[in-house]
Structures are given as structure tokens and as C-alpha cells.
């Protein structure tokens, strides 16, 4: 790898940049923009759910012909739900989270000058960018954006006559997703190769920060599962455009029998969830890695049970591949297969519980410094536990029968995966912002942002469990067609008001982020008094990360408050003293 400094033009520095730190910022800001779109969408459809049929000027402003006189149509409701899910899961919590922090932290924390292949890394971002552009473009096609749910189950997603969004909107959705998968694969391959090959001297696997362990397992999950989604998507493209019958059989459209026979919609679900479930952990593991690092640093205490933490990441990663069937208990899948998936799914609770206990044990007898990053990390532990527990109900097939596809599920996965991952992402941004931009984010705005977001988050998703236990299905444009759901408007109003508060709270974050980039106070070299390698690099970014030699590593990253040390942290680059035990 070259250590020489080439002359940089604007284009090579900010646009087609191969430096991992710049690529990480590109991922973050693109992710934030996409996140804003998805967040706005959710507030829009929440308005419809709390006040069905009521006219809102804001809907007409943003949705135009889709919301004549300020009331959205059922089709656009489904489109908003679909695109909200797609963007949040893939563009924000996969690319935005993993793309940002894997890129920033892998070279810096393992002591490498850059990713193994800067060029592939750049391609990874630009495929993601193209994919985002296509996804946003798909919102504006004449027949409307994809609206078959983010899981795009055929036949609904395959036949435009069934729902208008399955016309051009779905085509562009698939194009965008193919580009996205290419991006995810390029990124993940790079992360794996870099972590295996480019660790600095002394950076043994037992000295890797947990962030890197999490990114490593995440990348492996991505490499193994995204190609399956790609094949599922390609077969769907064939069914849609070339008359094949992979997923279609025995269908009648407008009185005409289609010629497709022999296909199975269930096949698509198997392929989709073979990605879809690992995807949950692709989203979650980086967040858990980030918070492990932050909770340890800000408790001024080693992470409790490092080995167990690594083992549980590996166990979760492995198990995530053999549980996909729990999304399909009531599809008519063989009940025996259901039994197998009950067993494997519930096993995941064990490593998850271990992680939760270890977080608590890390806080115990610590010296907790409440930075905004720390607050979000603690909130993650709370949402991880709260959301994880309702998973026990859903993983158990007999109990799943009655809450499957209800708001109980919506509440569950938003808390355990949505909130946890986004909290991990916020925590990461607050914590590593000084490393990204050399500036500090304002802590007061951070506190305001945190407390409003946290309160609003539970306000949105907790009441959903009650809707679910009442049997309210998800993806309903309105609940007014069933007398059994009468009187539940109050719940929906609580949820919507909380959602609006939560959305407004994000203004503090965005403002803080952009203000601090330009006008924030300068950061010191190691503002959080952290042990990991990234804080030994100069504040001002440079190609190659460190001037001169890459620092060697002599200890694990969690030597906080070690007895006998002068300060309460010891950088990984400090050699062990004579007679000092490693830990």
C-alpha cells in the first residue's frame, strides 16, 4: 500500500475518494438523507392511522396527487409503508450503520492504513449511492412506488394488475435492490479481508475491540445471505418480465386465468427470509458492537466477559442462519418444520440474554460518564431487552398463530431491531464524531435529542403490543371497517403524537450534526479517554491514518481503571509493564 501523498483534487478528495474515512462520511450522510425520507413517510402514514380520512395540508404538500384534498389513498398508504420499511432496513440500518462504522473503524481500530482495497470500497459506496438514487426515483413513477410491503411477497409484487405499485415502481425497486446488494457484497468482502489480513503488530484476535468482532461477523452474514436475496430478486424479475413461473401458479386476474403453473410463492418466502433473518442481525450486531465499546469506555471499566461477548456474537451469527422459518409458521409450511424452527429460534435467546447481563455487569460498580453516546447505548440495552422478550412469544409457533402479522409484531421488531440499531447508530455518531470531523457535537443538544427520542420511541412502539393482542392486523389503511376495532383510536393517537414528537426531536440531531461540522468546538486527540487505536491517530485526517509507523499493540482495548495505573485508561499501544498481567 502506498504511503505517498498524491496531489488531491476536489473530485478525488470528496467524490471519488478511496480513503475509508471519507467513504464512511459519505455513507453516513447518504444514510441520514435516506433516513429523513423514511422518517417523514412514517409520520405521514401515522397521521392517516390516528385520524383516518381527516384532511391534512402537509400530506397534500408532500404527496401531491397521491393525497387529493389532504387525505392519502389506500394505495399510497401501502407504498409509504413499503418504502419506509425498505429504506430503514437497507439504506439506513444496513448501509448507513454498517457502511459508516465498518469503514471508519475497521482500519483505524485494527491499525491499518486503509481498507484492503480502496477501489472496491469506493465502488461499494457508489453502488449504494446509485441504489439510493434509483430508490428515490422510483417514488416518482406514474403508477406509484412499490407497495407490496418491504418483504415484496409474490404474487402481489409480481403482477401489476393486483396493485398499481407492482408496475414500474416495483421494477425500479428491484433494480435498486440489485445495486444495493452489489454494494453490500463489495463492502462486506473488503471488511472481512481487511480484518483478517491487515491487523497491526500485536493485534491478535483476543485483542480485537468488540466493535471489530461485530463488524466481522456482520460482514460474514452479509456475504453469505445477500446473494440469496439477489437470486430471489432475479427469479422475481424473470417472473415479472419474462413469463417464467418460479413463484406463480393457478392465478386468475380479472377473470382471465394466467398460464403460470407449478410455481410456489412459498419458495420466495424461504429465499427472502434466508437473507431476511440474518439481515436482522446484520442490522443489530454492529449496534451491539458499538455499544459494547461505548459502555465500557464510559463506565470506565472493562467490558464484562469479553470472551462471552465474542462467543455470543458468533453464536448469534451462526444461529441467525437456521431460524428463518419462524417468519413462515402459518404459511402452510409443514408443522414439523415449524417445530424445528421453534427450537432454533428460541436458542438465540441464550446468547442474547448473556449479552444483556454482561452489559448490566459492566455498568455495575462503574463510574458512568453520561455522554450522549453513553445514554443512547444504555437505551439500546433497554430496547434490546424489551423487544427481545416479546420475541419469545412470536418465536413460539402456537402463540404466533394469533399475533402473526398483527401490531404485536410491528411493536416487537421496531423495538428490538429498529430502535436498538438506530440507538446504536446515534451512539456511534456522537462517540466518533470527533474522529470523523475533528469537532465535538454539542452535548446539551445531544441530551435534549436523547431524552425526547427515547421517550417518544417507547411511546410509539409500546402501545402497539396492545393493538396486537387485540388482533389488529398490520398494513391496514384504516381500522374503521371492523367494529371489533372500534374505540382503539385513542391508542393510535398516542402512537401518532409520540411519533411526531420523536420526528421533531431529530431536528436537534440534524442541526447539531451539521452545525458542529462547521462551527463545533475543536476536539482533542482523545476526548473520551479511550483505549482503542483510532484515538492515537492525528485529529486532522491524513491518508494512511498515522504519520510514520503504524503503532503496535500490546494489550486488549479494555484496560480501564486498571489497578496500578496512573490514569483510568491505558491505550492499547502502551506496552505491559514488567510483571503486569494482560488482564
Amino acid at each position: 500500500m502506498s504511503e505517498h501523498h498524491h496531489k488531491e483534487t476536489f473530485i478525488t478528495k470528496y467524490i471519488f475518494c478511496q480513503d475509508h474515512k471519507m467513504i464512511s462520511k459519505q455513507f453516513l450522510i447518504t444514510g441520514m438523507l435516506m433516513g429523513t425520507i423514511a422518517l417523514l413517510m412514517s409520520t405521514f402514514f401515522r397521521l392517516q392511522l390516528a385520524y383516518p380520512g381527516k384532511s391534512f395540508g402537509i400530506l397534500e404538500t408532500f404527496l401531491g396527487r397521491w393525497a387529493p384534498e389532504g387525505v392519502m389513498s389506500p394505495d399510497i398508504y401501502l407504498a409509504l409503508v413499503t418504502i419506509h420499511g425498505t429504506i430503514m432496513v437497507f439504506f439506513v440500518l444496513t448501509a448507513g450503520l454498517s457502511g459508516t462504522f465498518s469503514n471508519l473503524l475497521i482500519p483505524l481500530q485494527i491499525g491499518a492504513r486503509d481498507m484492503a482495497s480502496g477501489f472496491l470500497n469506493m465502488l461499494s459506496y457508489w453502488f449504494f449511492f446509485a441504489s439510493s438514487v434509483v430508490m428515490v426515483y422510483s417514488l416518482f413513477v406514474q403508477s406509484g412506488p412499490a407497495s407490496a410491503g418491504w418483504t415484496i411477497y409474490p404474487p402481489l409484487s409480481a403482477i401489476a394488475e393486483l396493485i398499481p405499485g407492482s408496475g414500474a415502481g416495483m421494477t425500479w425497486w428491484l433494480v435498486s435492490m440489485v445495486l444495493f446488494i452489489v454494494s453490500a457484497l463489495l463492502g462486506a468482502l473488503n471488511y472481512i479481508v481487511t480484518i483478517i489480513n491487515l491487523r497491526t503488530q500485536g493485534m491478535s484476535l483476543r485483542r480485537l475491540p468488540l466493535t471489530i468482532w461485530a463488524f466481522f461477523v456482520t460482514a460474514i452474514l452479509g456475504v453469505l445471505s445477500f446473494p440469496v436475496l439477489l437470486s430471489a430478486a432475479l427469479l422475481l424479475v424473470f417472473d415479472r418480465s419474462f413469463g417464467t413461473s418460479f413463484y406463480l401458479s393457478d392465478i386468475i386476474i380479472a377473470g382471465e386465468a394466467l398460464t403460470n403453473t407449478g410455481g410456489s410463492p412459498i419458495l420466495f418466502q424461504h429465499l427472502f427470509w434466508f437473507l431476511g433473518h440474518p439481515e436482522v442481525y446484520i442490522v443489530l450486531l454492529p449496534a451491539l458492537g458499538i455499544t459494547s465499546e461505548i459502555i465500557s469506555t464510559n463506565s470506565r471499566k472493562p467490558i464484562f466477559g469479553y470472551t462471552a461477548m465474542v462467543a455470543s456474537i458468533l453464536a448469534i451469527g451462526f444461529l441467525s442462519f437456521i431460524v428463518w422459518g419462524h417468519h413462515m409458521f402459518i404459511t402452510g409450511m409443514n408443522p414439523f418444520l415449524g417445530s424445528v424452527f421453534i427450537f432454533t429460534t428460541l436458542l438465540i435467546a441464550i446468547p442474547s440474554a448473556v449479552k444483556a447481563f454482561n452489559y448490566c455487569a459492566t455498568l455495575f460498580k462503574g463510574k458512568i460518564v453520561f455522554t450522549p453516546a453513553m445514554l443512547f447505548s444504555i437505551a439500546l440495552v433497554s430496547t434490546f431487552v424489551t423487544g427481545g422478550l416479546t420475541g419469545l412469544i412470536l418465536a413460539n409457533a402456537p402463540l404466533d398463530i394469533n399475533v402473526h402479522d398483527t401490531y404485536f409484531v410491528v411493536g416487537h421488531f421496531h423495538i428490538v431491531m429498529g430502535l436498538s440499531a438506530i440507538f446504536g447508530m446515534f451512539a456511534g455518531v456522537y462517540h466518533w464524531f470527533p474522529r470523523m470531523y475533528g469537532k465535538m457535537m454539542n452535548k446539551h443538544l445531544g441530551y435534549i435529542h436523547f431524552w425526547f427520542t427515547f421517550a417518544a420511541a417507547y411511546g410509539v412502539f409500546f402501545p402497539m403490543h396492545f393493538l396486537g393482542l387485540a388482533g389488529v392486523p398490520r398494513r391496514y389503511y384504516s381500522n374503521s371497517s371492523f367494529s371489533m376495532f372500534d374505540g382503539m383510536t385513542d391508542i393510535n393517537i398516542i402512537i401518532t403524537v409520540s411519533a411526531i414528537i420523536g420526528a421533531v426531536a431529530q431536528v436537534f440531531f440534524f442541526f447539531n450534526f451539521f452545525y458542529s461540522i462547521f462551527k463545533g468546538n475543536k476536539s482533542s486527540q482523545n476526548p473520551w479517554k479511550s483505549n482503542t487505536l483510532e484515538w492515537t491517530a492525528p485529529v486532522k485526517h491524513m491518508h494512511g491514518n498515522w504519520p510514520g509507523k503504524i503503532p503496535a499493540v500490546y494489550r486488549w482495548p479494555y484496560d480501564y481503571s486498571k489497578p496500578g495505573a496512573e490514569e483510568d485508561f491505558i491505550s492499547q499501544t502502551v506496552p505491559l509493564k514488567e510483571g503486569e498481567q494482560e488482564h
Partner: protein
């Protein structure tokens, strides 16, 4: 238009104000010579106390929701297998509520209790094998019990022992349900999707003698205390036949026949008395996204005595009679 400009103006002014406030903070810090973003003991106390307040408000909010929304939770199961599901569901909900309260209380309490203070020092504990073994094995044991219990209920629900259930086919299409009764022979006539037309909405094969006494209706009547085998088909998209009061749900898949067997144990009348709601009716609704009117795809379900059922079914025309 004026409101839009006005809203925009307010947003801009708000951001300008925010900028100024932050700058004042920054400047004071600069003059007095401290870093405003350094976390102080004041911050640690404030956030520690806030986390206690938050946890209290959060639990209060949970209790409020329980008291206020309890009435919406589905009534006790109206089917036999549902009793076992309900029992397990209630036990599980109680158990997870207990763990939820303990763990969340612990998280917020620890955050408060160990907030950084000048005089404290964190203790250097890296791991504790004994403790970790306990909290790995303990969830392991609890889960083993839970899994075995779950598998047991699952096989009861999926492999009921009753013989000769009454056959009813449920057919889903955008955006309505149709039911076909097997008639006196309790055999459904063959059907094929290419046979569907305006008169023969389910594509029943009239050449199959079993179809002669089939009865096609848009309302589901079922006799109480008798095993009912529902067979599901779909015409277009995926649908999911969801009978929340009976704890029954199964997807309807084009090209694949699925089924679910259950025994209703409460008539509509009994349920009306139980719920003190004269207008109550059981309902079958669609629970898999299927298009624009997905939110209004339903069929009325009536559970009645055998006599009432016989009377009703006797009035319905047979397939042979309408498909001449």
C-alpha cells in the same frame, strides 16, 4: 400558501435562535476557559436522576396502558385448541413482564447508582466465570422448559385427534371471501382455477359427482362443538385467513392448498352475552397484505347450535342447482 410560508419562516427562525443559543454557550466556555462539551458531575447527576425519573414514568405509562387498553385484548378463546394457546400465552406474558420489569429497573438503577462522581473509582472486573455460567445455564433451562411446552402445544394444535371433521373450503380473492361447504357427503368436489367464471366463482368441477351437493356462500355458519376442517385456496395474491377469536390463522396461497382444524366452543349468542355487546359478530379477516382494499376484506362468521345450523344450511342452494 401563506400558511406554508409562515411555517417555513418559523422553522428558519427556530434554527437561527438555536444557532445563537449554542454560540452563546460556546463563547462563555471560551471566555471562562473550559470545554463546554466535557461531561461534568452536574451532567452525570442530571442524567442519572433523569434515568430514574424516566424509568418511573415509563413503568407508570405501562401500567396506564394495561389498565386502559386491557379491555381491547381479545376475549378468551372461542375454540377448543385456543384454550391451550391462551393459557400458554398468558403464562408467557406474565413471565416476560416480570423479566421486563426487573431488567429495565436494573438498567436504569445501575445507571443512576454508578453515575460518575469525583470520589468514586470504577472497579477493574474483567469477568467471572461462575456468574457467567449461571446466567448462561439458567436461561438455558428456562428456555428448554418453554420450548418443550411450546412444541407440545404446537403439535396439539396442528395434529388434533378428532376424526371426520366437517369440511369447509375458504376461498380468498381481492377483496372478498367465499366459503364452500362439502354438503351431506362431506366431500368437496374437485376444483381447478381454469374453470372459474362469473357463474362458477370457485372453479368447481361439475363433472365430479362430489360437487353436486356442495354449497357456496358468502357467510360462514358453523355448528358449535364440532370439529371443523377449513381448507384454504386463493385466486390471486396471498391472503391470510385470520379468525382472531378462535386463535386460527392460515395463509391462502395460490397453487397450494392449506388447512386448519378447530372446534368452536362458544356460539355467537353466548359471546354476545359474555361481552355484553348485542351487535357482536365473529369475523374472518385478511391478514396478509393483498392490495388496496386489504383493510376491508372480511366475512361474517356465525357459530350456532346444530339445529340452527341445519336450518340455515337447508335454505342454501346446492352447487348443482345453480350451475346448470
Amino acid at each position: 400558501m401563506i400558511t406554508k410560508i409562515f411555517t417555513l419562516l418559523i422553522i428558519v427562525l427556530f434554527l437561527v435562535a438555536l444557532t445563537q443559543v449554542i454560540r452563546i454557550f460556546q463563547l462563555t466556555g471560551k471566555i471562562k476557559g473550559y470545554d463546554i462539551n466535557e461531561t461534568t458531575d452536574y451532567d452525570n447527576n442530571l442524567n442519572g436522576i433523569l434515568s430514574i425519573i424516566f424509568s418511573i414514568l415509563f413503568f407508570a405509562f405501562c401500567v396506564y396502558q394495561y389498565l386502559e387498553f386491557k379491555k381491547f385484548i381479545l376475549p378468551e378463546s372461542a375454540s377448543f385448541h385456543g384454550i391451550f394457546i391462551d393459557k400458554m400465552n398468558n403464562l408467557s406474558l406474565i413471565a416476560i413482564t416480570v423479566v421486563f420489569v426487573i431488567m429495565n429497573a436494573l438498567i436504569f438503577y445501575l445507571s443512576y447508582k454508578y453515575r460518575s462522581k469525583k470520589e468514586t473509582k470504577a472497579s477493574f472486573v474483567t469477568h467471572n466465570n461462575k456468574l457467567e455460567l449461571i446466567w448462561t445455564i439458567l436461561p438455558g433451562i428456562v428456555l428448554t422448559v418453554y420450548i418443550l411446552y411450546g412444541l407440545n402445544v404446537w403439535s396439539q394444535v396442528m395434529h388434533p385427534s378428532e376424526e371426520d371433521p366437517m369440511l369447509i373450503e375458504i376461498y380468498g380473492q381481492q377483496f372478498s371471501w367465499t366459503a364452500r361447504y362439502a354438503g351431506e357427503d362431506n366431500l368437496l368436489g374437485e376444483s381447478h382455477y381454469t374453470l372459474v367464471n362469473n357463474k362458477n366463482v370457485l372453479g368447481v368441477d361439475s363433472k365430479d359427482v362430489n360437487s353436486n351437493d356442495d354449497i357456496i356462500v358468502r357467510e360462514l355458519h358453523i355448528p358449535i362443538d364440532e370439529p371443523i376442517m377449513l381448507k384454504f385456496r386463493s385466486q390471486d395474491a396471498l391472503h391470510s385467513a385470520y379468525l382472531p377469536h378462535f386463535r386460527v390463522q392460515m395463509n391462502c396461497v395460490p397453487g397450494l392448498e392449506t388447512s386448519f382444524m378447530f372446534i368452536p366452543i362458544k356460539t355467537t349468542k353466548q359471546m354476545r352475552i359474555e361481552l355484553k355487546d348485542e351487535s357482536f359478530d365473529y369475523v374472518l379477516l385478511c391478514n396478509k397484505i393483498c392490495g388496496s382494499s386489504h383493510f376491508n376484506m372480511q366475512m361474517k362468521v356465525i357459530v350456532e347450535t346444530r339445529e340452527e345450523y341445519n336450518e340455515w344450511i337447508g335454505q342454501q342452494p346446492k352447487f348443482k342447482e345453480i350451475n346448470l
